[in-house]
């Protein structure tokens, strides 16, 4: 192996190691991964609340509300389904169950935002805001 090939191989190993460290290897949700999921859901809930508030106040179009809430719903429902089957250390189990339950609620509310009447939007906005606060 030439010096260049050795250097190339070292770079490759370093890149693979960095990827591996990012992916995690235990198959269980760490405290940090759980916290990241919670933060991501908080963001989706807060964005959904803003959208619902705009929809209730006539600030947006029906099409934008429907399409953008679908994007938010898809992301939230993916998070909800991965949390449903996730495992974690016993110490974090209560938090996992709590986040998973909020994920299901956020996901259901976001699905509703796309089709709700103008009158129903403020209630959805309040529910999503409350969920975002709980997830924060």
């Amino acid at each position: 192996m030439t010096r260049n090939q050795r250097s190339g191989a070292l770079v490759l190993v370093a890149v693979i190691a960095l990827f591996a460290s990012g992916c995690g290897s235990s198959g269980r949700l760490s405290a940090k991964a759980l916290s990241d999921q919670s933060t991501a859901l908080e963001s989706l809930a807060a964005e959904g609340a803003l959208l619902a508030r705009h929809a209730g106040g006539g600030k947006t179009t029906h099409i934008f509300t429907r399409v953008h809430s679908e994007y938010l719903y898809e992301a939230a429902s993916q998070a909800a389904s991965s949390l449903r089957t996730a495992k974690t250390d016993p110490a974090f189990e209560p938090k996992l169950r709590h986040v998973a339950s909020l994920a299901r609620k956020v996901s259901a509310d976001l699905k509703r935002v796309g089709h709700a009447s103008k009158a129903e939007q403020p209630r959805l906005a309040r529910e999503l805001e409350a969920a975002a606060k709980e997830l924060a």
Partner: protein
């Protein structure tokens, strides 16, 4: 200068402003604002000044030496390094073009409500037809002028009543709050990469050669680069201020192309939303055409093919085929369903890695009297050019490790 020339310069500046923002600027400025508030505004200033310095240089080289950037890369770096640069720039161009095409389809979906996948072919065909039918100037102007709708974000930034003292502090680099150091550095790299993306100089210099720029256009070059790009950077400030004022306090991490539009909607209601969506549509649409043509320009210039949008397609058949193939490949990439916003993040970070090989030949030729005669770089252009090149080298080395360590800015 006659009124006609003043008007031409003004129109050129307007199209440069409208054409400055692309999907990379939208994504990185909004995410940076939502994560760090106004604390990264200073990076936009540095990035915009960098693109002004190098665009002016490559426009001057195009006007004096009549040589576009990739022609110089091939000549200055030799065949092997030139081929490596071509391969790297084509991968980045294709990723960027695909992200922009995906962005066009998402905007059309947000405006029409039609399914995203059905709108992808419509977006590609629409862009390809516009590229085929419209003359060069019209492509720049139609997309540039309609991209000016993004100025709605400047109005939104004012109407959202940010804390102007904190905004002013954001223009001064210093310690930061609200995120880890690697995430902060990741956004520094991303914002610089988004502002100084290589396709902009490929397109700018090839366009200057196509327009037959000569010594008379050196003034136009300076004005377009400085005022056009400079004011274009103003849109980046607006995006970051809107995100810092609205999204950061609410805990929103923008991961969708429609999210920035919520900022315009908050401040200006439905009119704001529609202006934002139209602005984004034409800004990313124009950038899709620019990246596609940049890829075709680079390939044709590297291999010495006849090239030019002004040539009849049959006369520059390989060049024409190249841009058609790039659009077709971008279409296939987007049809895989990969998220255009994620693709944008990767394309910006990978483009940073390719920056040194793009900008070094420009700096060298702009200093070479055999090409430039008396129009070589002055002292200021050289100082800035060298400083920026050092900066480019540093961020090129740091870009991929930072992306991996921070999981794409997620911490």
């Amino acid at each position: 200068m006659s009124m006609k020339n003043v008007l031409a310069v003004a129109l050129g500046i307007l199209s440069a402003i409208g054409g400055f923002v692309d999907i990379g600027d939208l994504v990185f400025n909004t995410q940076a604002g939502a994560t760090f508030g106004y604390q990264l505004l200073w990076v936009v200033v540095i990035g915009v000044a960098g693109i002004v310095v190098y665009s002016e240089m490559c426009g001057r080289v195009a006007a004096v030496a009549k040589r576009p950037v990739f022609d110089l890369i091939r000549e200055r770096t030799g065949f092997s390094a030139g081929l490596a640069t071509l391969a790297a720039s084509q991968v980045v161009n294709l990723m960027t073009c695909a992200a922009e095409v995906g962005g066009v389809a998402i905007c059309l979906q947000l405006l029409s409500g039609l399914p995203y996948r059905a709108l992808i072919p419509l977006a590609v065909v629409g862009l390809a037809v516009a590229s085929w039918v419209l003359p060069f100037e019209w492509i720049e102007r139609v997309f540039g002028y309609l991209g000016l709708s993004l100025l709605v974000f400047a109005v939104a930034a004012i109407k959202l009543h940010p804390d102007w003292e904190r905004v002013a502090h954001g223009f001064v680099p210093g310690s930061h709050t609200g995120g880890s150091v690697p995430v902060y550095l990741y956004f520094v790299v991303g914002l610089l990469g988004a502002a100084m993306t290589p396709y902009e100089v490929y397109f700018y210099s090839s366009g200057a050669v196509e327009d037959g720029w000569g010594l008379k256009e050196l003034g136009l070059n300076k004005v377009t680069a400085m005022i056009g790009y400079g004011l274009g950077g103003f849109l980046s400030f607006a995006l970051m201020i809107v995100a810092g004022t609205l999204f950061l306090p609410l805990g929103i991490d923008p991961q969708f192309l429609g999210t920035p539009a919520l900022g315009a909607e908050e401040a200006l209601g439905q009119v704001g939303l529609l202006l934002a969506l139209v602005g984004i549509l034409f800004a990313v649409g124009g950038a899709a055409i620019e990246t596609c043509f940049s890829g075709a320009y680079n390939t044709a210039q590297f291999f010495g093919w006849r090239w030019g949008k002004k040539e009849r397609p049959a006369a520059a058949s390989r060049f024409t085929l190249a841009w058609v193939v790039i659009f077709a490949l971008a279409f296939l990439v987007v049809m895989t369903g990969y998220d255009p916003v994620k693709l944008t993040e990767y394309s910006v970070i990978f483009s940073v890695v390719a920056l040194p090989l793009t900008y070094l030949p420009i700096l060298l030729v702009a200093n070479d009297r055999t090409y430039m005669g008396s129009k070589v770089n002055g002292r200021l252009a050289n100082v800035l050019g060298v400083l920026y090149f050092i900066l480019i080298l540093a961020i090129a080395v740091a870009a991929i490790p930072l992306m991996l360590i921070t999981h794409g800015g997620q911490g």
